[in-house]
Subunit: 415 residues, 4 copies
Amino acid sequence: MFEALFGTTSAQAWLTALVDAEKALATALAEAGVIPGQAASEIAAVPADFDTAELGRQAVSVGNPVVPLVRRLRERVSADAGRYVHLGATSQDIMDTAAMLVAKNAVDGMLVDLSAAADACASLAREHRDTVMIARTLMQHALPTTFGLKCAGWLVSLDEAAENLRRLRFSAQLGGAVGTLSVFSDTAVPRLFAAELGLDEPVIPWHTNRTRMGELAGAFGVLAGVLGKIALDVTLLAQTEVGEVAESSGGGSSTMPHKQNPVRSVLITAAAKRIPGLVATMLAAMPQEHERAAGAWHAEWETLNSLCGTLSTACARTRDLITGLRVDRDRMRANVDMTGGLVMAEAVVTALAPSMGRATASEVVTELATSGRPFRAALLADPRISLSEEDIDRALDPAGYLGSANEWTDRALRR
Amino acid sequence: MFEALFGTTSAQAWLTALVDAEKALATALAEAGVIPGQAASEIAAVPADFDTAELGRQAVSVGNPVVPLVRRLRERVSADAGRYVHLGATSQDIMDTAAMLVAKNAVDGMLVDLSAAADACASLAREHRDTVMIARTLMQHALPTTFGLKCAGWLVSLDEAAENLRRLRFSAQLGGAVGTLSVFSDTAVPRLFAAELGLDEPVIPWHTNRTRMGELAGAFGVLAGVLGKIALDVTLLAQTEVGEVAESSGGGSSTMPHKQNPVRSVLITAAAKRIPGLVATMLAAMPQEHERAAGAWHAEWETLNSLCGTLSTACARTRDLITGLRVDRDRMRANVDMTGGLVMAEAVVTALAPSMGRATASEVVTELATSGRPFRAALLADPRISLSEEDIDRALDPAGYLGSANEWTDRALRR
Amino acid sequence: MFEALFGTTSAQAWLTALVDAEKALATALAEAGVIPGQAASEIAAVPADFDTAELGRQAVSVGNPVVPLVRRLRERVSADAGRYVHLGATSQDIMDTAAMLVAKNAVDGMLVDLSAAADACASLAREHRDTVMIARTLMQHALPTTFGLKCAGWLVSLDEAAENLRRLRFSAQLGGAVGTLSVFSDTAVPRLFAAELGLDEPVIPWHTNRTRMGELAGAFGVLAGVLGKIALDVTLLAQTEVGEVAESSGGGSSTMPHKQNPVRSVLITAAAKRIPGLVATMLAAMPQEHERAAGAWHAEWETLNSLCGTLSTACARTRDLITGLRVDRDRMRANVDMTGGLVMAEAVVTALAPSMGRATASEVVTELATSGRPFRAALLADPRISLSEEDIDRALDPAGYLGSANEWTDRALRR
Amino acid sequence: MFEALFGTTSAQAWLTALVDAEKALATALAEAGVIPGQAASEIAAVPADFDTAELGRQAVSVGNPVVPLVRRLRERVSADAGRYVHLGATSQDIMDTAAMLVAKNAVDGMLVDLSAAADACASLAREHRDTVMIARTLMQHALPTTFGLKCAGWLVSLDEAAENLRRLRFSAQLGGAVGTLSVFSDTAVPRLFAAELGLDEPVIPWHTNRTRMGELAGAFGVLAGVLGKIALDVTLLAQTEVGEVAESSGGGSSTMPHKQNPVRSVLITAAAKRIPGLVATMLAAMPQEHERAAGAWHAEWETLNSLCGTLSTACARTRDLITGLRVDRDRMRANVDMTGGLVMAEAVVTALAPSMGRATASEVVTELATSGRPFRAALLADPRISLSEEDIDRALDPAGYLGSANEWTDRALRR
């Protein structure tokens, strides 16, 4: 029921990957001259149309679906070719290779969405390079910044998360029963196998060296954090009291007609909350016994499915979120002004620092800022403040206190 | 593809629970006199046969499947009755109540399996009350114990895990849009609603007080740890070099004809490894904003599904594992003896303590135990050892150094 | 450097607990007649003043600090008494018992703070039973509620979290090397030992049955979620744009004189974020091998320290937070009104339902609510709205649409 | 008490890093001409000798130790120089920069130990290139492999984990109150600041873009998994029943004189178990609000401390473990033979495949392998087996069925 809401990895995606791995093995064995080309051709012609639920049920007695799949594959080819199905491979060779294919496909899709989301951030950053808004620290108004810089920050983080994904190693697995290629002993086969599938060839089989899975989990964890931060910012900025941004279309309520919920951000947040626990599971499963683990390996599969499905959906949704984001400049400006200039206190200190020293200036300004009186009036009235009305108004102008905001935005856009 | 291997919570389970919640609401409203009995009867007659995939897709724009479900339900009843479908409830009322129903059903099933597994442990403990085996600490032979006591330990832990499940609160949720029952303001309705569903009535609505979800996760976490410990022990005892137990039937290998893998234990271990991360997710989702969370709530659903599905399957498999466990007494005894009595060193120290003091005895015995010589011969030959050969043999007899093992086993069986 | 900020469990707390365990063992052995009373008296007189850093260093070669501690203890008593120090116990007996003492002390302190925090919530709930504020769902204005009900929700959750703590089992551990009491075989000793320390006596030794640790972790996880929710609410309500509550005194900024940060809530939130991962660690450490684990047991100690230290501090801080919370009723009321009555749309639908049917009413009201026109004026002007101006104003009055808020608050206060 | 056992990050390490950051800021400001060189010199001369416990206590009211540290620093320099301490920086600039310094130092130390551990693996792999041992899958004897290949696997994983560490970005943080450098607006300063500290200059300030922290956590998680796998293998191989390796010196027992515990492996395992939960915390803290988080940021500090301390110690211990590992070739060989050739069943199938087809061969061999009769005798006696005694003995020779083990080992050694 929750597949569309939160994403999933389909049984068919796994089936296709498993069958592709078995086909690539036959092809590689034929290319290396280990088995007849005819057998490989027959095997390569079998469509990936097996009953995944049945394979799943048959997997229970042996612990993975490769054993029943091999049986099914053999039924589809001649007896001659059947002898060469799965030759020299162990179940883990096929499962790990399929897992890499499933993950790679998912990551490729994520990268497309992340790139589009980053482009949308860049457009917003450019458009709002000079849109003044309040920066908030610990959820309190701090100093002015620009919405352009906020978008530039999102942009940089999306690019960094994508870069992590691009660096991942998707490696084929082919070592035979215990990683020694005992049946055919020809190390050309793993190379040809990897090439056939568009995967990397590892230095040696990695049956119980799970760095690849851990790295995948780590990159996914970082990505989830990046998406979660953007969704969190949007949710906060879309609060009724803040109202600075809104999603392109709001989610309705089953009971309150006036509600327009930030439903994309909510669902991205939900996804982001689930990832750290899944990453921990994948990492906790890394210490695997001897030459094949008794459980830790099996713990990876559904964890990988949840990670890939959830993040694929969250990436697409983030792209949609940023692309359609509606920005209310007037509300941003009104919010900057809502404290009557108090957020410019640092600027006033800076203006006073040359004449009275930063420390004294800070004390005096803090006193006035927390006096309860309107800040501008208090500044004008206080004899210790040696600034002209014009100087005070200049110090109180948020657009004049943006520091390097524009330079940062431009830097981020020059990526 | 992995549903049978690792368990799942079906879409139909959710649909039934969601529809049951809507029906119970109508019934409760009718009982309280808020809506006509005829409307409630009509609503209660609608079968839970909606297309869950379609509901799932329609859920995306609003963030949960209740809104589309209510639409579908209204289509199935008269216009008159349709006005009373979902009256006064918010989506979260229905989702949370359904989640409680789904969880309660899962837990009820787990309790049946846990009870059977505990009974099987008790049988083993009784049968092997006097079966001497080596106890291992930090994976090294330590002292003798009995297999009965090991099973008694499993038994106690299963009972404790079940007790945690039995203590869980499964509470109905009915507060309306913001928890104030704004539409009908009749606190009899939540009471009738809970009673209709066989759930507890909470003190007040618990929309953003997620203690129930946290407690569920905690109890599930403990259960997973208990099952994981049993599976780990079996896996270790079934090692080729140890060979003290075997599963009723082993999982074959896709490549090695002689292998008999402890496949139940492996799959239980896989389940146990996944639970802590899922528990962390559920706990991390507990801080929920204001009167309804913007994402943390939504993060619960798939997490709950994974928890319930995985643990239900693991409980059933543990029951099967223990019920069919094959125990090799001879191998147990042979393993006790494989260090030539070294594991009885503590017993020898205890026998020597009255005459030479425990500290000196410990020093002398350690010296002999690490000398490389056969331990019994070394003891007989050493002039510092003031024990007769008979005394030495008594001290070296593992069956005579079981301490309170039997008393503990009996205590555990008297539960 | 971060002890005061986030709490810690002191080395002295562990030392005291370890020494107390060794003393209680001697006392129990003497009471059971296993060792001379004089020896127990000597041992009981040794102060817990050992150098914890040195014990820590000496722990490395054996894996725990009990072995060096026993050596130190023996040096402090006569040779005669020295023979009876640690008699029949294994390191894990002393470590686990000490862990239970450390945890119990921490929990006792938490319960005091939780009770005071709950009392403060109750006071606030009573005082603000009729303080109208806006309820927010998915961070958007929803319907009116009362601040009293919000505090009642906090109160209920604090009580539930405390109840979980109160239910924890703190059990002594005494089984000897492998849980069989091989050295003295007198099951009265574990009973006397537990009684001496004010701990429960377990059914049988629980060396590798870690349900107690898992339950502790689970209860701590729930508590963290409860504290985190309160801190999150305060942080959100204290936002500059919301301004409905403030902490008794704000944390200053190193650079912005006007800032008053909700520093207690921030630190409680930091604590709450760290707990789920620690809980996952404790649960993941539950499957422990055979009669003593090779690492999983050792993983508990620092995890327990972090959990106890962090949560003790967070409980004290929550008490301080709620006790000193400043509430701005006027701002609450102003915020209710900021959408010009839109949040009363459901109330208008309810008022219209009898005449035009709930579905039609909902459609019409949604149309007007999203029209952009002032809501009240739009209602007055629309010919489909069959309500008098008085009826409309009554429907738009938030204080008149609080449903069962007061009844819920009263229920929570009757706890 | 547990610092030496599990590692820690010292308060002094943080103090030094914090003070270094403040000094580098002054130096950078002077280099950029923002403040007088004399002031920078004075600031740079202050030793990092403040009372960390006191700073920690004073941190509570503001939420971090930078505010009190700045106060202390100002007291140590002339009033003139004091005005320039911390100029233009926000607390997070200093905290984040210090965190990067602390982490970088820890990682530099880990890399030294990892490199030495990898060298030790390479030596073992070279030395045991031809040492035949049994490979175990799902904890059951599978086929022969070499201890050299096992060490080669450890080697590759250590190198991969180290490569991840080497790729980490340690970036200075300098953005001022809200990331805009509002006080001095000179983007040369962050560049000079980073250079002064030997850190990277980020594209723009990364106050609430926590990719760096997430990547650090991810790399640490992978490392922990790698170390945990090695420790797990050693623990399993050191089991009394297996006895193929031993640590250079065993940890004694407080009660059993004959025990030699694999204490290094045990403590490395304990470390590895704690990391996934800590990684999850760091990742869960990534979504940080607006321009400074209200708690998620603060959750990083102790988490980072635990990660760095635990892993530094675990790396050193792994180096020590592998360097001193004692290998028992005879026991390895004896274990290969303990099933009477059953583990060579796949080899027999391979030998029979050309004549009778792989499927039939597999069936026949499985029948004989599970018959309970001695395998060699059964093969010799069975009329279906068309192999000579010599052929059978060749097929049963483990050293002749190592497949590509040596080629893989050599590949790993050519890194």
